[in-house]
Amino acid sequence: MAHTITEACIGCGACKKVCPNLAITGELKSLHYIDAAKCIDCSVCGMTCTKEAVLDQNGKVVPRIKIADRMKPIVNKQECSACFLCADFCRVNAIKISEPTYRGDLNTYAEINFTKCVGCGLCASNCPMGAITMGKVEKPAVAAKENAVA
């Protein structure tokens, strides 16, 4: 079952912009529509919608959650093989491969930009190593900074 949009939709287009799998279509100021074949049930549209007009796969209203408070991907740096698959899946370009810390450093991994990340979980579900899990990041801004330093 896929997510659906109810009549409460005002056609602002915010959900269409954030959908990681381009599953939402619709004209401005008219009811939007989710393609069930493409929907990956990530709820990002519902979490973005100001009118709470999105129902999840069980028919429940998806509550609005701010980007900073959503579940975010956490990378296991030891497992990550830096293959770039997650970064290719990410539509908001929130993932890049870390820079080497010294010349010849081979230990690079996927690095998440938590301010850009909308929390769709596509990276976690497509990681061949299972190195990405979705979890709560306590203080996103600080965590991002720490990541950049590490």
Partner: protein, 638 residues
């Protein structure tokens, strides 16, 4: 008609640029079982769809973009996809494999491949988003270089295949670029240019279904860990890239120097991957989904750009007697922007320099002179002045200006950056490879003869036919399955890298390996059912089984390689190629590389008959009826 096998989307696009018609093309499940995907499946389609003897740059030729069952599944180094057509450079089968993100996106859009026929009357590009396929105008993009074109055409996050000015001007060895990766050999860029097609753009949102997703996940996790833990793929390749081998090739007299006239270069140390890593490397990079990450990133004028591979460091370096790595890095970047194959162009430049030296043609290329190289590379892409003849390749130049005996080409394709007289098995590979003198299609024997951890005796010719065939079949099958050929490096156990650097130890391993040819010859004669095993160092067949649902094991995998290779050979035979074309230039077969060392030339006449007989081909290089029956190719008749 969808396929009963998973891992495929079961649909293939068929686009005619002359009429603008967009349809689908049917592939039978029997062909999927026999040819699995990639270069083998495209050979079958070319066989079915093309008439013999057509002009490769005419609208009659077709260009096929083809993925493989493992493409885009998350298996290591599996972003590989194939582009095939009749090659304008050689007139033989042309295929080229690379690791950009296009194949993966194409499959996510729901298509296994695309066939492009005919010719548009104005520049166009093809845009594919899931089931929506459009042919759009590209007049304003015509003339852009590969980097500008990838920025300008289509949606930002889409995958793109583009040609540069060289492809537009039908340079016979022009590339098709996708991200930083290039479909280099066989001149596929010229075929695309001849169709007035500037780019292909795709973006997909569908999922690729697998037969046994859980088992597959386990297999590839183990596989990635193995690649990360192996000394070749987990340490050497990421640290030093492909050019890490350069110094050991020079030691083994296999580094092309001064247009392949010598095998050692005094300044080799200035061009090695180790020097590159210590002085200029910013970081390593890789193709999508690849844990090996052998690609280089370097800095040019404050911008991070793609660094040089081994081939260009050798062919524009030692082969032209130039030891300036910074200059080569700059040319490498320029060649990518222009859309020229850096291997072919390097060999063309070396040959042009020797023609100049011998007074046969005033080509303006001089050994050791670097200030006009940039300008000549540009003139090749735009076909100006001397560049016009050089754009046709070494075969054309040698026919026009002479020097056939030292023209480094086989079947019209320029030799890659390995000197065959320092590794005679590699020479046999060059002579027999279906697409021309290609190191990868030829079996990459150099890994066993010079660059690898334990070496075969490079001059022992009796052992080479069996090893070459095994390698050719294996590499071709890996490529058709959708993986990078570097995943085959784990075939030699990591322990071999730890052999003590003593004379006795290396003498013993060399003898043991060299005389194991008897086992290899026997192995190649065994029916696949006796090899129904999964080798831990070769997880490809197991991954294919779990992805598609076909019963695949080592024996069948090897047989598929033999079948595909024979199919490509049949295509070449239909185009009029004979055993006479399975040869090397006289310089390699008749002249000693090291004066006084009688072994230092390629004894091709002694190796070829054995090669043909192990393959089950007659002495004219034609597969016998019995072989065709054994390989399940009875329906193919020349």
């Amino acid at each position: 008609m969808a396929s009963k096998y998973k891992g495929y989307t079961g649909k293939m696009l068929d686009i005619n640029l002359t009429t603008g018609k967009i349809g689908t093309y049917e592939i039978s499940d029997r062909d999927r079982e026999r040819f699995i995907g990639g270069r083998f499946l495209t050979t079958k389609i070319l066989w079915d769809e093309l008439a013999a003897g057509i002009d490769p740059l005419s609208p009659d030729n077709i260009m096929i973009v083809m993925t493989s069952p493992l493409t885009g599944t998350g298996a290591p180094s599996s972003s590989r996809f194939d582009i095939s057509a009749k090659s304008p450079l050689t007139g033989a089968i042309g295929h080229s494999n690379s690791g950009g993100n296009f194949g993966m996106h194409l499959k996510r859009a729901g298509w296994d491949g695309i066939i492009i026929r005919g010719k548009s009357d104005h520049p166009v590009y093809i845009d594919i988003v899931d089931d929506k396929v459009q042919i759009l105008d590209a007049t304003k993009f015509w003339g852009l270089n590969t980097e500008e074109a990838q920025h300008a055409i289509g949606e930002k996050n889409a995958a793109k295949l583009v040609i540069g000015p060289a492809g537009e001007n039908l340079v016979k060895y022009s590339i098709i670029a996708c991200q930083d990766r290039a479909h280099g050999r066989s001149g596929m860029g010229a075929v695309m240019g001849s169709k007035n097609l500037k780019a292909l753009v795709t973006r997909g949102t569908k999922k690729i279904e697998l037969y046994d997703p859980e088992g597959f996940k386990k297999t590839i996790r183990k596989w990635i860990k193995m690649l990360k833990g192996h000394p070749a793929t987990g340490d050497m390749a990421p640290k030093y890239g492909t050019s890490g081998f350069l110094i050991s090739l020079s030691k083994h007299h296999a580094l092309p120097t001064k247009n392949f006239s010598s095998g050692t270069y005094k300044d080799a140390i200035m061009l090695t991957g180790q020097t590159l890593a210590e002085t200029r490397l910013v970081k390593n990079a890789g193709c999508m989904s690849c844990p090996i990450r052998c690609a280089r990133v370097v800095n040019i004028n404050g911008r991070e750009v793609k660094g040089p591979e081994y081939e260009i460091l050798c062919l524009l370096g030692s082969n032209l007697l130039i030891n300036d790595m910074d200059a080569i890095i700059q040319w490498n970047y320029e060649l990518d922007l222009l859309g020229i194959d850096s291997i072919s162009v390097g060999t063309v430049m070396g040959f042009a320099a020797e023609l100049q030296e011998k007074g046969l043609w005033n080509s303006e290329v001089v050994f050791g002179k670097k200030d006009n190289i940039s300008q000549i590379l540009r003139s090749i892409a735009y076909r100006e002045g001397v560049g016009n003849d050089m754009a046709e390749g070494v075969r054309y130049m040698s026919e026009k200006y002479g020097g056939k005996e030292f023209a480094p080409q086989v079947k019209g394709m320029e030799l890659a950056a390995y000197e065959p007289r320092g590794a005679v098995g590699h020479g046999l590979g060059y002579a027999t490879a279906n697409r021309g003198a290609c190191h990868l299609d030829g079996g990459y024997m150099i890994y066993f003869e010079a660059t690898g951890p334990a070496t075969l005796d490079p001059y022992h010719y009796r052992s080479k036919p069996g090893f070459t065939i095994l390698d050719q079949n294996l590499l071709a099958a890996i490529s058709a399955g959708g993986n990078c050929l570097f995943t085959s490096w784990t075939f030699l156990p990591g322990i071999l890298f730890k052999i003590p650097n003593s004379r006795i130890a290396s003498w013993i391993t060399t003898r043991v390996l060299t005389y194991s040819w008897i086992t290899i010859d026997l192995l190649l004669g065994l029916p696949p059912s006796l090899l129904a095993i999964h080798l831990p160092m070769l997880p490809h067949p197991k991954a294919l089984t779990q992805a598609t649902g076909m019963k695949m094991h080592f024996g069948k995998f090897l047989q598929m390689g033999a079948r595909g290779y024979t199919m490509e050979k049949l295509y070449n035979l239909r185009e009029g190629f004979t055993a006479k074309d399975d040869t090397l230039p006289k310089r390699f077969t008749d002249e000693e590389q090291i004066p006084g060392n009688k072994k230092s030339k390629v004894p091709l006449g002694k190796m070829l008959p054995k090669y043909y007989s192990i393959r089950g081909w007659d002495q004219n290089g034609v597969p016998t009826a019995k072989t065709l029956k054994k390989l399940d190719l009875e329906d193919i008749r020349i």
